[in-house]
């Protein structure tokens, strides 16, 4: 579908532009402001230039070391999450019932974790994984495995990952399911006539049809796991030690806990720039996929 050039369309976009500018640009200006100043309290600020940024990006300083630790931790977390949730989500989508009342039931049950407030998700798992009153922790401990997510860093990581898989795999599955549903029956019939194997059907029919939604799924899952805050905060509070202190948790500690405005602001900006860069890569890939699709259809 070709769009017509019409700059009056800006009038329709203007309200959105204004409200998002109000809630995004204005606060970001405050952050930029703080990031180049230092304070001794009493609301007196003085110019500090790029001092905070130098400290932040130098791993040998306290602030820099802390920042890079949290950054690697968060990246590792996002990578693990994608490696588990994307294949699992595809598997679940392929296993969805095709017709009958079970379709609606499965959809509703699958979507349920997505609509639970994030701190309640944390609370549910905090309780569920406890060794004294939680089913999971109790069972695991009675199987003879020593498991304690508040004391052992590895257990804390496993619990957070399982929690995130529980929370978000359905999003990937629902997206893939939507992609699968758009495949016409004729494709499968053709594959059957050709005697295609199950794997061939998946590789040549289902996967290409899911490519677009999978891209959205990977984008959303990467971004949301990269800025995860509430669930691990409720579950472990960033501990034991700093084992599960992800970037957002670290940032809130710095900004609202220690009220270190300059450092927090510098960290916010770098954090935001990383997100912006990754977002740009995804967006470029996505528009390229769309362009290819349009060319293929034309």
């Amino acid at each position: 579908m070709t769009k017509t050039l019409n700059n009056k369309a800006w009038l329709l976009v203007l309200p959105v532009f204004l409200i998002v500018a109000f809630s995004a640009v204005l606060p970001l200006m405050t952050v930029v402001n703080y990031s180049v100043q230092d304070t001794f309290g009493n609301n007196q600020f003085f110019w500090n230039g790029v001092g905070w940024f130098q400290e932040l990006l130098d791993p040998s300083t306290d602030l820099g070391g802390r920042f890079f630790d949290s950054l690697w931790r968060t990246l590792l977390f996002s990578a693990i999450i994608l490696l588990i949730e994307v294949p699992l989500g595809i598997a679940v989508a392929l296993s969805m019932p095709r017709e009958g009342w079970t379709v609606a039931l499965s959809l509703v049950l699958m979507a349920l974790p997505l609509l639970i407030p994030w701190n309640v998700v944390g609370t549910i798992w905090q309780v569920f994984a406890r060794s004294d009153i939680g089913l999971l922790g109790w069972v695991v401990n009675h199987l003879g495995i020593d498991y304690n997510y508040t004391g052992d860093p590895l257990d804390a990581w496993i619990t957070i990952i399982v929690m995130d898989v529980w929370h978000w795999t359905s999003l990937v599955a629902l997206l893939c399911y939507a992609g699968l549903k758009s495949i016409p029956d004729a494709y499968y019939q053709a594959a059957r006539i050709d005697g295609a194997s199950r794997w061939a059907v998946f590789r040549t029919i289902q996967l290409p049809k899911m490519r677009r939604v999978l891209l959205i799924a990977v984008l959303l899952r990467f971004m949301d796991s990269f800025m995860i805050y509430t669930e691990p905060f409720v579950l472990t509070g960033g501990g034991p030690g700093n084992a599960t202190t992800f970037l957002s948790i670290d940032l809130v500690k710095l900004a609202l806990g220690q009220f270190d405005l300059g450092k927090a602001a510098a960290m916010s900006l770098v954090y935001n720039l990383i997100i912006l860069a990754i977002c740009w890569v995804f967006y470029t890939i996505m528009t390229n996929v769309d362009a290819q699709k349009e060319r293929a259809e034309a």
């Binding site: 532009f17 049950l109 609509l115 309780v127 794997w199 900004a255």
Partner: protein, 294 residues
Amino acid sequence: MTDSVAIRPSDVKTSAAPLAANKVLAGPRVNGRVVVMTLYILFLMLPIYWLVNMSLKTNTEITSGLTLWPRNLTFDNYITIFTDQSWYSGYINSLSYVLINTVLSIAFALPAAYAFSRYRFLGDKHLFFWLLTNRMAPPAVFALPFFNLYSAIGLFDTPWAVALAHCLFNVPLAVWILEGFMSGVPREIDETAAIDGYSFPRFFVKIFMPLIASGVGVAAFFCFMFSWVELLLARTLTSVTAKPIAATMTRTVSASGMDWGLLAAAGVLTIIPGALVIWFVRNYIAKGFALGRV
């Protein structure tokens, strides 16, 4: 793995009469799929069951040992929440900012999504990307500046502050979803309506809106969802009068020395609005999660 999940060609419904041999082949395969699905749903439901289970127990029963179902069924935890003003006002506060935010987001996003789906204009691609980045921006970055901003304009501790703050990620999302749905409506409809003498506003309300009604429903669902589940901003921007239920929960837990039953009951009650909303949009849920563009 692939054995149990991939779709075998023989398994797919055909318009012609299926062969008997295919049915035989399909038998064990369907079971594999059912197993994956059942295990997954079980995995999703177990923690939720545990929460419901706990909410119906007394605190002595919870702490005295593991019981798979409540031995002394009690509704005291729920009664406490529905009779104590500090508890149930949390639900009212949460629902009020969520509803304000949903209405605002949809109202702002509708014209913009129409513009993106129908016209090319100066800077459209950049604008769309910029909107998208705001959906991805970490709320942790915005917590402190929002606190300053809304305190300065006197909205701190009102539902409006939270509703406006959530517009940061919900408006871009709504634009994204609605644009997907609107692009699915053929342009010819716009042109025919114009020839028939419809003015633009009349066309938009009378003809266009009914065509994308499911898209509006899905967008509203997502705005509701992301505003309902968010806590970091909601908690930062409120203190007493507009405190959301999620914040009430975290504070009461630390203060009263772990009242597990009450905590669980409050948790269960936060799941219910979500479950109701899903039920209403269940037929559009798959397309909706694909943001209207499959």
